[in-house]
C-alpha cells in the first residue's frame, strides 16, 4: 500500500524484532480489534459448530444427540416463549426459564467486566476474584444493618459490592499503570487471594462465619430487607428477581459509556492504539486504572445479584467452586465485547447451564452427569473456536474468499477491499 508500511516492515524484519505499528498493541488489544471486525455471523457459526461437535460426542456415548439437545432445550425453559406450550408444561417451562435467567444475570455482568477491559486492550482474567470480593461485600452488608429499610439497604449492598470489586480490580489496574505489571498475571493472583481470603472469612472460626451455625462454613444469611424483589414466579421457590434488569441496565451503561462519553472515547482509543492515544494527550496509565476499576464494579455487582437475589448466603464451597467469573471470559469473547453480544452470549451460557443441570434433564434421555460435562465441553469448544476464529478472521480477511462469507459486514469494510 504505502511505502511507509513497507519501511516499517523492513526495519522490523531485519532487526528480527516485533516493534512495528501493529506490534505496538497488546495481544488482547489486537484480539479485541479483530473481533470487532466480524459480524454476528461468526459467533453464530462458532456456536453451531460447537453444538455439532458436542452432538458427535453424545453419539459416541450411544445416545441420540437430537433428543439430548431437545431435552436440554426443554430444561432451559425457553419453550415458554412458544405460545402453544400450555398447561403444566407451561408452568414448568416458566420455572425453568426463571432459573435460566437467574444464571444469565451474573454472566451478563461478568461478561461486561471482561469485555470492558478488552475494549481498552486489557485482558481481565480476574472476573472471578472481583466477583468473589463483590460477593463478600454484598453478603456482609446484606446480613448486617437488618434494621434498614429495604430500598437503601439493597442500594448500599450493591454499591458496596461494586466498590469492593472495583477496588480489587483497581489493584491490578494500578499495578499496570504504575509498574507495568501484566494484568493477566496480577488478576490471576488476585483471584486466588480473593478466593482463599473468602474461605478464611466464612470458614469455621472465621471472622464473618455465621455465629448461629458454628459448625457450618458459611456467612450469616442476608436480611429480608436486602433481598431483591422477585417479579416473576414464587419468591420462596427461587423466582426471577429484578437483578436481570440491573444486568441489562449495566449493558446499556456499558454501551453508553463507551460510545457516548468522552471517557469511552479515550478508552477505545487506548485499546485500539495506545501510541495515538498518548499523542492525543490521553493518559494511558490512568485509563488502564479506571477501566480496571469499572470492570471490577461490573463483576462485583454480578455477585451482589446472586447473593441478594437467590443465594442469600455465601458458603466457602461456593467461593471455591464458583466459575462464573471464568465463564465471563467466554461470554465476552463470544459476545465480541459488545453490549448486545454479551447479553446474548450470557443467555446462551446461562441456558446451557440450566438445561444440562441434573435437576431439569430427563435421565432416560441423557445421563445428567454426562450432561453437565457436555456443558463444559460446549463451553470449551466455543472458547477454542472463538480464539481460532480470530486467527481465521485474520487469515481469511487477507484473502478475497472471505467477502462471500462475511457479506453482512459493514459497507465501510467493503470500501477497504
Amino acid at each position: 500500500m504505502s511505502t511507509l508500511e513497507e519501511e516499517e516492515q523492513e526495519r522490523d524484519e531485519v532487526a528480527g524484532a516485533n516493534e512495528g505499528a501493529a506490534a505496538a498493541l497488546t495481544t488482547p488489544a489486537r484480539l479485541g480489534a479483530y473481533m470487532r471486525r466480524g459480524t454476528v455471523t461468526v459467533p453464530i457459526l462458532t456456536t453451531l459448530i460447537a453444538f455439532i461437535a458436542g452432538g458427535f460426542v453424545v453419539l459416541l456415548t450411544g445416545h441420540n444427540p437430537f433428543s439430548t439437545y431437545k431435552a436440554i432445550f426443554n430444561g432451559t425453559g425457553l419453550q415458554w416463549l412458544f405460545p402453544w406450550v400450555t398447561g403444566s408444561a407451561r408452568s414448568t417451562a416458566a420455572f425453568n426459564l426463571q432459573q435460566t435467567l437467574l444464571a444469565t444475570t451474573p454472566l451478563i455482568l461478568v461478561g461486561l467486566a471482561v469485555a470492558f477491559a478488552f475494549r481498552a486492550g486489557l485482558f481481565n482474567i480476574g472476573g472471578q476474584g472481583q466477583y468473589t470480593v463483590g460477593g463478600i461485600a454484598a453478603v456482609w452488608i446484606g446480613s448486617s444493618f437488618s434494621s434498614m429499610p429495604a430500598f437503601p439497604h439493597i442500594v448500599l449492598a450493591i454499591a458496596g459490592a461494586a466498590l469492593a470489586g472495583a477496588a480489587w480490580a483497581g489493584i491490578a489496574g494500578a499495578l499496570k499503570a504504575t509498574l507495568g505489571v501484566n494484568e493477566v498475571i496480577s488478576t490471576i493472583m488476585l483471584n486466588w487471594i480473593a478466593i482463599w481470603g473468602g474461605v478464611w472469612l466464612f470458614g469455621l472460626g472465621g471472622p464473618l462465619q455465621d455465629p448461629h451455625q458454628s459448625s457450618v462454613p458459611t456467612s450469616s444469611p442476608v436480611a429480608a430487607s436486602a433481598k431483591l424483589p422477585v417479579f416473576w414466579g414464587n419468591a420462596s421457590l427461587q423466582g426471577l428477581d429484578i437483578g436481570l434488569f440491573i444486568a441489562l441496565g449495566a449493558a446499556v451503561v456499558f454501551w453508553v459509556l463507551l460510545n457516548r462519553t468522552r471517557f469511552g472515547f479515550e478508552v477505545r482509543a487506548v485499546g485500539l492504539n495506545p501510541d495515538a492515544a498518548s499523542y492525543a494527550g490521553i493518559s494511558v496509565a490512568r485509563s488502564y486504572f479506571r477501566v480496571m476499576a469499572i470492570c471490577g464494579a461490573f463483576a462485583g455487582i454480578a455477585a451482589a445479584m446472586d447473593i441478594l437475589g437467590w443465594k442469600f448466603s455465601l458458603f466457602t464451597n461456593d467461593i471455591q467452586f464458583s466459575t462464573v467469573g471464568f465463564i465471563g471470559i467466554a461470554v465476552a469473547l463470544l459476545g465480541r465485547n459488545s453490549a448486545v453480544g454479551v447479553v446474548f452470549a450470557a443467555l446462551l451460557f446461562g441456558a446451557l447451564e440450566t438445561g444440562t443441570s441434573d435437576r431439569y434433564l430427563d435421565p432416560s434421555v441423557f445421563d445428567p452427569n454426562l450432561a453437565s460435562n457436555l456443558t463444559w465441553m460446549i463451553q470449551g469448544l466455543i472458547v477454542l473456536l472463538v480464539s481460532t476464529d480470530v486467527i481465521a478472521l485474520k487469515v481469511l480477511s487477507s484473502g478475497r474468499g472471505i467477502r462471500v462469507l462475511f457479506k453482512g459486514r459493514a459497507k465501510r469494510e467493503e470500501a477497504s477491499a
Binding site: 500500500m1 511505502t3 492504539n273 495515538a276 499523542y279 470500501a415
Partner: protein, 508 residues
Amino acid sequence: MADSARPALELRGITKKFGSVVANDRVDFDVYPGEVHALLGENGAGKSTLMSVLYGLYRPTDGEIMVDGQQVEIDSPARAIALGIGMVHQHFMLVPVMTVAENLVLGNEPTQAGGVLDLDAARTRVNELSARYGLAVDPDATIEDVTVGTQQRVEILRALYRGARILVTAQEVEDLMAVLGRLKEDGTGIVFISHKLGEVLLVADRITVLRRGKKIDTVRRAGATEQSLARLVVGRDVLLSVEKTPGHPDRASEPMLDVEDLHVRDDRDLEAVNGASLSVMGGEIVAIAGVDGNGQQELVEAITGLRTPTEGRITVAGEDVTGKGVNAATDAGVAHIPEDRQRRGLVLPFTLAENLALREYRRPYFSKGGWWRVRHIRERAFKLLGEYDVRGGDCDTFASALSGGNQQKVAIAREISCDPKLLVAHQPTRGLDVGAIEFVHRRLIEERDKGRGILLVSLEYDEVRALADRILVIYEGAIVGEFAPDASEEELGIAMTGGQKAPEATPA
C-alpha cells in the same frame, strides 16, 4: 586480500516487491573475502530489505544469490547461518537473564552425553574467541549486567561462533573497528550497513549506494569524499517545485516557539537532544535538517509534550510548556503532524469523524460534561473532509480504508483545524506520492502565510529546501548550523554528517 578472484557472496539482480511497492529493484551486490563492503543509503532506501533477503527473512521476487560461486536458495535464517552468513543485529537479540556464554551458544549448544548442556565447553569457546579477536568478555557475566558495548561484542562473537564467513552488521563503527583487522586477515567478508558517511569512509573498501530501492553506484573508498557520497545518497532526480514566496516572519511579536538549551533522553536513557536551542517566529517555516537518528524524534516529542526534557526550556508564544505534557502543549497552541501517521497520527480502526476529533476532543464543542457530542463531531468532520479534499470515505469510514495520502490529509486537517500557533510537521510527506506531497507542501506554506510558526523536521533534502525560510542542521542532538534555503547540497550534507562544524546559529 580484497582482490581475491571470486566473491564470497554475490547478489544478482535482486528485486523485492511488497504489493505494488518495489523495495529493491534489480540490485547487484557482492563481497570478496577479507573485504569490507558498505551499503549506504537513507532510511527506506532498501538496505534492510536487501539484507533481509540475504538472511532468509524475505524471499526475493526476482534475482539470485551466490555463495562461493554456487547458486543458493536462502529460505530461512537457519539456512543463511549454515551457509556461513552471520547477522549482527542492530537491536540486540540477546536473552538478558542469561550469561554471555549461554547467549553465545544459544541455538547451537554444545552438549554432553544425554543432551545435557555443556557449559564448560561454551565457556571455553567464549574465551577462545575473545582471545582470538581481542574482544574481552567475561563468559559468566549476565547480559543485563554488562554494558551496551559488551553486548555488541557478544553479538559479533556469536556470529563468529556460528562460523560466519560473511558478516552483516549495522553496528556502531567503534565496535567493529576493534575486530576488523583480525576478521579481514581471516578472510571474512563484511557487509557494513550505514547511513553515516563518515563511518563508511572510515572502514569500507568499497561502497554501494542505494536510493529508493535501486543501486545507484558502487565506488571505491579511494577517491570518495563525503560530498561525493552525499550526492549519491541524497540524489536529486525528484524536483519539487512548490511556488513559494519568502516568508514574512513576524519579528515584532514573541516567537511562536523558543527552545533554550534543551536536553532530552531517549528510550534507552541516552542523551538524544544535547543542548539544542532554536526559535520559530510566526509566519516562517524553520526546517530541521539532519540524518535520521540525530535527535529529531526526541526534539519533536519534547516540544509536543510527549517526552519530558531533562534540562532546558520550551516556550510556546510566551507560555512555558516544558515537561507539562501534551494537553498543556495543545492548549498553548502546539499542533503536531507526527512522523508515523499509522502508529501515532491516527487510530486506524476509528472512523474519520473520531480521528478528526482526536486532538480537540476535550473542548466543549466535542464533548460537554463528559458527554460525547456525536452530531457536532460528525458535522465538523463533514466540513473538514470536504475542505481538505479527503477522498475514499466519509465520516463513518474507518481510517484504515484510506490511502496513505488521504490518511495524511486527515491528520493534517485535524492539526490545522485547531488553529495552532505552532505547527510541528515531522516528516509530513513520508511515504506519500508526488501529488499528495504537493498538497501537503502547499498547505504548509498557506498556513505559514496565515502567521503560524511552522517547524518542519524532515530527512528529505528536497523538502527542506523547498519549504524552509531558514534551515537548521541538527547533528548528534545539537543544532550545528543555520543556513539559508539556497544553501548548497554540499554545505548541508557536510553539516548533516558532522563533517564540519558550521558557524554557530545566528539569533533569529
